[in-house]
Symmetry: C2
Subunit: 142 residues, 2 copies
Amino acid sequence: MKLSTRGRYGLKAMYQLALHYGEGPIALNNIAKKQGLSENYLEQLFSVLRKEGLIISVRGAQGGYMLAKDPQHITVGHILRTLEGNMAPVDCLTDENVKCDREDECATKFVYAQMIDSLNNVIDSITLQDMIDEQKKNEMIK
Amino acid sequence: MKLSTRGRYGLKAMYQLALHYGEGPIALNNIAKKQGLSENYLEQLFSVLRKEGLIISVRGAQGGYMLAKDPQHITVGHILRTLEGNMAPVDCLTDENVKCDREDECATKFVYAQMIDSLNNVIDSITLQDMIDEQKKNEMIK
DNA sequence: GTGAATGTTGACAGAAATAGTAGGGTATAT
DNA sequence: ATATACCCTACTATTTCTGTCAACATTCAC
Ligand code: FES
Ligand code: FES
């Protein structure tokens, strides 16, 4: 039940974009360098995020990426599902063709259904803006 | 964020044991056959469950496995964490030595903390008995 | 006691998913 | 024109997951 690097890197990168929302495009190598990640690898993730409409790219010199909308309108859930695929712990929850049983009914499915519901509730309720606010709060305390 | 076969097979097998709770030990090949799983593989999972004290093994002829306690006192959470390791989406939540950042504070950790909390709440609130009850209810409807 | 059934253990191998690399192409600001 | 930075696809390396195997230990039925 681990998140892969796709989700982790992607969410952090999106947070960086959120921090500089409204300041124009930010180059990828900037973000990659700051977090010690492979620029090429991040690029793959950003490509997916762009196609999903979460970010906008600006090509050419002085180009880069920026959020497609206000940080408070982008949820963590949207980001994670875009990068990780659906967050279902088992495939039968999202793919009609998958079933673990032939004969008897599956007794475990309802457990997994509750897991995914709960998980989606949490991640859909957190926006990038919430992350920023939380971070500021923590810095205040220090 | 997928559950591995360890958790899936293990939970189903435990459910089988729960169905026959109080009827003495059940041989592994019995369960394996019924669900079309490798007996040897299931064996590995049961070994872990036994060490965790969730099941009791009876050796020798007519031996097998049975639940160590009443189905209503065994939670899905206990089973899944035993087989899958902790359910944390990232390691830093459970391992002090892991941190994703050096300099700036990590803004994503609080997201993951909420995820694991929510997940644990759900799976700890479901017992094997609940699964049995749910299943019965569904059969009634049919 | 003997033999059959069953659990116990650890090592190992194949398969699949993940993570990361490489390189050529395209658009744009200057 | 040229440098910059996004765009795309294919490939490779690494790790994790899944499953197999074999030798061994314990207990039951007789
Ligand atoms: S059908 Fe999905 S877990 Fe059984
Ligand atoms: S320290 Fe765990 S996600 Fe950053």
